[in-house]
């Protein structure tokens, strides 16, 4: 499994042609207390860089973008009952959705963990 990161602070863990997507620990710390997450349902087509989910903190709503194009196979139902999972386990149980990649070459421009860490340190 390989994990990639975007400049919009999503992570994408790829295993074969299925990927799991969530927000990074940095993103959750910037958003603050998360009170609602709207995840896409299975069968939804998402496009790289386009809105795929919405996360609402106490203060505001923020769009979450699809890091790659593909078809959603599962939205994380656990977030519905416990949106705070996105704060407490953003890179684990608080994942947002899984999708099947339609074009693996889209992964090429994404950062690895070291590059993402350097990117965040520079913010």
């Amino acid at each position: 499994m390989t994990t990639y990161y975007t400049r919009e602070h999503e992570w994408i863990a790829v295993e074969g042609d299925v990927a799991t997507v969530g927000i990074t620990d940095y993103a959750q710390s910037q958003l603050g207390d998360i009170v609602f997450v709207e995840v896409p349902s299975a069968g939804t087509q998402v496009a790289k860089g386009k809105e795929a989910a919405v996360v609402e903190s106490v203060k505001a709503a923020s769009d979450i973008y699809a890091p790659v194009s593909g078809e959603i196979v599962e939205g994380n139902a656990a977030l519905e009952g416990d949106p705070a999972l996105a704060n407490t386990a953003p890179e684990g149980e608080g994942w947002f959705f899984k999708l099947t990649l339609s074009d693996t070459s889209e992964l090429e421009g994404l950062m690895d963990e070291t590059a993402y860490k350097a990117f965040v340190d520079g913010l």
């Binding site: 603050g32 207390d33 009170v35 609602f36 709207e38 903190s57 106490v58 203060k59 505001a60």
Partner: protein, 382 residues
């Protein structure tokens, strides 16, 4: 160079570096860098409801008004009972445009002889919103008669200490503040600093607002923060607290197109003023109070967990009947709540409505405000 190219000047308030040292996340607000949060909005909100939260509200405008018949002059632009205001007593009021539209909401206090502003007994201390203060000052200069003296107290900082334990914390530093009742104010000394303290605030809790010279602000803030009940609280929690308390926020729930009746602020326009009129837009506003305005500010409880935000449209079936002006998650209730304007015939408590969020309809019910009971301290009240 177009207007958009002109960088907005964001100023630093006297406690700027103090907030940063405490880990406050600073954001631009009303022309100043202000702390939006320290530990997190949820924790800060709940701390204030249970203990005491210290807010820096130095962006707000502090004014004094002196001169003969200042009360009568104020009544020509405010719809409140200013003439009947005793020394050391304060009221919430509204600065009205000539058509009755609300230019700002504010707090007016009649000063006693003992006050740190070196004003005479009977003069006034007025606190206005930060984003509107320069317009307010201009309008007041334009509307008030000659002979009155309006001073912007730009050298004063303003702190708010809010929550059920605010009185315990402040009384240790300023003996006697516990004797103040809600909406009373007086001169006190805190950590050796001459302070003007009012028992008021905008969170729905018991608490105080404390005006002190800017160069002493840090010393007073430090003395308050040294109390075990007190934590610093950011603007984020201030907003969620006032929303739970059902209090409108200028620039969101109130603006120059809204009159006092539409804003459902009947308590700010007492019987005498409704009978006598003599304030801007009186005829229209008094008529609205009598017969009901076409639209009205209401509170809404929202089903599910998804917050609804300012700008969302309110529906009754297929018909758009209003707009949300404040909305979010209520930390004390662990549920979404909102405030907005709807057609008056759909404003009765219990009316079932819908709010559209990102193309989806969410069920909501018109609900009495405050959403969380207010806990103001009134002498003799249990």
């Amino acid at each position: 160079m177009s207007d958009e190219d002109v960088p907005e000047i964001i100023e630093a308030l006297p406690l700027d570096s103090w907030h940063r040292t405490l880990g406050g996340r600073m954001v631009p607000f009303a022309g100043y860098h202000m702390p939006i949060q320290y530990d997190g909005i949820m924790a800060e909100h709940l701390w204030t409801r249970e203990n005491a939260g210290l807010f820096d509200v130095s962006h707000m405008g502090q004014l004094t008004l002196s001169g003969a018949d200042a009360d009568a002059a104020l009544e020509t632009i405010l719809p409140g009972d200013i003439k009947g205001l005793g020394e050391g007593k304060m009221r919430y009021s509204l600065l009205l445009a000539q058509d009755g539209g609300i230019l700002d909401d504010l707090m007016v206090t009649r000063l006693p002889a003992a006050n740190p502003f070196e004003e005479e007994a009977g003069d006034f201390y007025v606190v206005v919103n930060g984003a509107t203060k320069w317009d307010d000052i201009g309008y007041l200069h334009e509307q008030l008669p000659e002979g009155l003296n309006l001073n912007h107290r730009g050298d004063q900082a303003l702190l708010a200490l809010q929550g059920p334990k605010a009185v315990d914390a402040l009384a240790r530093l300023a003996p006697g503040v516990a004797e103040l009742s809600f909406m009373e104010a007086g001169a006190f000394t805190i950590a050796g600093v001459s302070a003007w303290v009012s028992r008021s605030g905008y969170t729905g809790e018991d608490g105080f607002e404390i005006s002190i010279p800017q160069d002493s602000a840090e010393a007073v803030a430090e003395a308050l923060l040294a109390m075990p009940e007190v934590k610093p609280i950011g603007l984020g929690a201030r907003d969620s607290l006032r929303l739970e308390a059902g209090l409108p926020l200028y620039g969101h729930d109130l603006n120059e197109t809204i009159d006092p009746a539409t804003a459902a602020l009947g308590f700010a326009v007492p019987k005498r003023r409704r009978a006598e009129g003599g304030f801007p837009g009186a005829e229209r506003t008094i008529g609205y109070f009598k017969d009901g305005p076409p639209t009205k500010r209401v509170g809404l409880t929202v089903e599910g967990r998804q917050p609804v935000r300012e700008g969302a449209t309110i529906y009754d079936g297929d018909q758009a009947i209003g707009t949300i002006t404040s909305g979010g998650h209520a930390p004390s209730l662990q549920a979404p709540i909102a405030m907005g304007y709807v057609n008056t015939d759909r404003s009765a408590l219990g009316t079932a409505l819908e709010i559209e969020v990102r193309g989806k309809r969410i069920a909501a019910t018109v609900t009495a405000m405050p959403f969380v009971p207010q806990r103001y301290f009134r002498k003799g009240a249990k």
